[in-house]
């Protein structure tokens, strides 16, 4: 902005005004005085000050402010215009002239002039009676137009009802909305027109509008409030900052003339909650009826939800916007979904399972006959059946987000009960897994989350003492990993205390005193039945449900649990689950006449168990695989199959959860789709077997429980699997 010319105007204008002031003051000093002259004098000082401010001439503004203030009192009749005052003001005028000429020449006042200025200000101050000392800097008072940036972006909810006179006063509520989008991003708007009276009574020049606005902004509260400064007396304004609690939103919503359905809709549309959270809230409502949760507590921290959202930043915001849009599309959306009885779905999947087996049968027959055309037809059929199987399984897949979101409320309530400040961070809520799995993992997760809050997160004082943020964090995370899903429950608490675990395990007789255990083995001890790390019994840990129950629930789902803990830094419990319970891609191996199935996604490679390797490995339980130690299991020995080893044995290298082992088998029979049939009760406790299946030729094959076998191999030395494990050896 080129202000040179304007500045020149300012200097000229000030000189004129100072000239005018001089003339007026000389009249006053001779005892003449009339109201219009006082007014003109005031106006001159006022203009010089006002324009000086525009150019940032703070020296002139500061000094002239005192003169203006005294003249204001004279104008109001509070101070008489005496010859003495006129003389003082004349001196002040001269000083102002000096200030103006100095800035015009681009120089500074000398020390003497500065002393004179200070002395004049002091004298002016005596007329102002201390209340408004002339020395006070008015520039400090008007310093309200700063950038107002407070730091990180946050979600603000603005609820505004405009008053009837707003239009008549020349204000357009839409202008404030437009301005809002310059201090942040408007992510949601709901226009409220319910205050518009009956058509006959409606005054078109009165304003009846209100808005609910979701704003993502880094501005501070005063900046956002400032948007509505000019209608402050003419509207009802409520601003919920990013730290607001759900209860504040609830209160806000309750004040609206909305039916129940709309309440949720409104919240979602305004972005106060996401669609998923609305779903979760509805579920919690349902759960409350079943006795879970505390109906009186409504105060979930919205901030926590938002932090959780922020952790996955822009894509999530976009996704939320998409979801909002979908929601607005209400009707179109409804017709896109069909509710299906879960039993029907299960029946379909069972039938597809049979189809897979039948398809394998055809393939086998085709091979046996050597009929090339039949083989080709069977292969096409096989591909299609595979696709149908995948689609059918996909029908049962649901995102785990809804389950995760239920914990927002749990975390809030439990944190309050424990008198701790705890935030919940959610990641990977859109990771999908089998519906049955989602339902059955909810309880173990609940236990782990409560446990993390109760035993993991330290009391606030302790955290502060240790230099950690006062607010603890519990994290829920889900992601896909080697054909399965991993769910993590983490905390940034004190971590597992190995010495205490060992002491307790010894006192419980779980391990002999002085047993040499690795860190990992010590951590595993918390899954032993009856083990509890709580130093005091309270209503959270005193429910008789321990980590052992979590473990057996997960094992029932063909999953595993592991602990990752660092003392002082926190603990993460990692649950690995298969994607589905129904069908897997399997790899068939033969030992003698028996056929076993290994889940294909756990097979790393197949190698020949050469004579040389056999000789080298004699008496040991590991082989050298390209310079690395690979422990192996003789399947023949493990399952007591008997018979002579084939002349050429093979090793199937399997991997799960970062651990590897070799399975020594006779034959490699290739891949096949496998429908998992549960084992009968009698066999459920057999180690190493996870289920059975029927092969295309009608034979039964056992499905190996690779995680169980790996645990067996790697935990052989210090094997303490508890009562649920009875090894077949």
């Amino acid at each position: 902005m080129n202000l040179d010319q304007a500045f020149e105007t300012y200097v000229h204008e000030s000189r004129d005004l100072l000239q005018q002031m001089e003339e007026l003051l000389l009249e006053f000093s001779q005892g003449r005085s009339d109201p219009e002259s006082v007014n003109a004098l005031f106006r001159a000082a006022h203009t010089i000050k006002g324009s000086a401010g525009l150019f940032g001439l703070d020296g002139i503004v500061d000094f002239t402010h005192g003169v203006e203030s005294v003249l204001d009192l004279v104008r109001d009749g509070a101070v008489p215009m005496t010859p003495d005052l006129a003389a003082l003001l004349l001196e002040c005028r001269d000083h102002m002239a000096g200030l103006v000429e100095a800035v015009a020449a681009g120089t500074e006042l000398d020390d003497e002039a500065l002393r004179t200025g200070a002395e004049l200000q002091r004298q002016l101050g005596t007329y102002l009676g201390g209340e408004a000392s002339a020395a006070q800097s008015p520039t400090a008072v008007v310093e309200t137009g700063g950038s107002g940036v407070a730091g990180d972006e946050g979600y603000w909810h603005i609820s505004v009802r405009f008053g009837r006179d707003v239009f008549r006063n020349g204000m357009d509520p839409l202008s404030f909305m437009r301005f809002l989008s310059t201090v942040g991003r408007i992510v949601a708007v709901t226009t409220l027109a319910h205050e518009i009276p009956a058509a006959d009574e409606m005054d078109p020049e009165s304003c009846y509008l209100g808005f609910e606005i979701g704003l993502v902004s880094a501005a501070d509260q005063s900046t956002i409030e400032g948007v509505f400064d000019f209608v402050r007396d003419d509207c009802t304004l409520q601003i919920l900052p990013p730290t607001s609690r759900a209860a504040d939103y609830v209160a806000l919503i309750e004040a609206l003339p909305a039916d129940e359905v709309r309440v949720g809709d409104l919240l979602v549309r305004c972005g106060a909650i996401t669609e998923a959270q609305l779903e979760a809230a509805l579920r919690i409502q349902g759960a409350e009826a079943a006795g879970i949760g505390d109906a009186a507590a409504q105060a979930r921290l919205i901030g926590e939800i938002l932090i959780a959202q922020k952790s996955v930043a822009p894509p999530v915001v976009e996704a939320a916007l998409d979801k909002q849009k979908q929601l607005r599309d209400g009707k179109a959306q409804e017709s896109r979904f069909i509710r299906v009885d879960a039993d029907k779905l299960d029946r379909l999947i069972n039938q597809i399972g049979e189809l897979v087996i039948a398809g394998a049968g055809i393939n086998l027959v085709a091979k046996r006959r050597g009929a090339a055309d039949l083989l080709e037809a069977a292969s096409v059929l096989g591909t299609l059946v595979e696709d149908v199987r995948d689609s059918a399984l996909q029908l049962r897949m649901v995102p785990i987000g809804a389950t995760f979101n239920r914990f927002q409320r749990v975390v809030h309530d439990v944190a309050r009960d424990l008198n701790k400040d705890i935030a919940l961070l959610i990641n990977g809520g859109d990771t999908e897994l089998d519906k049955t799995m989602v339902e059955r993992i909810a309880d173990p997760l609940m236990h782990l989350v409560r446990n993390a809050m109760d035993h993991g997160i330290e009391p606030t004082e302790v955290r502060v003492q240790n230099g950690k943020p006062a607010r603890g964090t519990v994290k829920l995370n889900a992601y896909h990993d080697s054909g399965g899903i991993v769910i993590e429950v983490g905390d940034d608490g004190g971590g597992l205390k190995t010495d205490r675990i060992v002491a307790k395990a010894v006192s419980r007789g779980l391990i002999p005193e002085g047993a040499a255990l690795t860190q990992r083995e010590i951590h595993e001890l918390i899954f032993e039945p009856g083990f509890s790390t709580a130093s005091q019994i309270n209503n959270l840990s005193g429910r008789g449900v321990g980590m052992d129950v979590v473990k057996s629930s997960v094992t029932d789902l063909r999953g595993t649990v592991e602990v990752d803990s660092r003392e002082g830094e926190g603990t993460t419990i990692r649950i690995r689950l298969p994607l589905t319970l129904a069908i897997i891609d399997g790899f068939l191996v033969g030992v003698n006449d028996s056929v076993f199935v290994v889940p294909l996604d756990m097979v790393e490679e197949c190698i020949e168990f050469t004579d040389a390797a056999r000789t080298e490995a004699r008496g040991r339980e590991f082989v050298n695989l390209r310079g690395q130690v690979l422990p192996f299991i003789q399947i023949r020995d493990l399952f007591e199959i008997g018979g002579q080893p084939a002349r050429r044995e093979n090793i199937l290298v399997v991997r799960y959860a970062g651990q590897r082992a070799g399975l020594v088998v006779d034959e490699l029979l290739g891949e096949a789709q496998t429908v998992i049939k549960p084992l009968g009760k009698l066999f459920q406790k057999v180690r190493g077997i996870g289920g059975s299946t029927i092969l295309g030729d009608g034979r039964v094959a056992l499905i190996m429980d690779i995680p169980g076998l790996l645990r067996h191999v790697h935990g052989k030395a210090t094997n303490r699997e508890g009562a649920s494990a009875t090894a077949l050896q």
């Binding site: 509520p173 949601a188 708007v189 409606m202």
Partner: protein, 94 residues
């Protein structure tokens, strides 16, 4: 009906009876806003009133061919409207 002047606080008093008459007289009440050069919240408020009054007598009040400034306002206020084509929804301004 068609509005070919500004839809603001200055014209609101005049537009209100016209909009209400359209609802009373027309089986398919609608307003063509393609010629509107200026609209403010008072104008928006009238459209919301018209829509409500039409719904009260079981009709749908259609906003046809909103001009650019009307679109901006409908979008800012997240008010949906019928476009010449399929239902199109005003989203929040970004």
């Amino acid at each position: 009906m068609r509005i070919d002047q500004r839809m603001t606080i200055y014209t609101a008093a005049e537009l209100k009876p016209r909009l209400l008459a359209e609802i009373a007289d027309s089986a398919v009440p609608s307003v063509d806003l393609s010629a509107v050069q200026e609209i403010d919240a008072a104008g928006l408020q009238l459209l919301l009133l018209a829509r409500r009054e039409a719904a009260a007598v079981g009709r749908e009040f259609r906003i046809l061919e909103p001009s650019e400034c009307v679109r901006e306002v409908l979008s800012l206020a997240a008010v949906s409207y019928m476009d010449s084509g399929p239902t199109s929804l005003g989203g929040p301004a970004t």
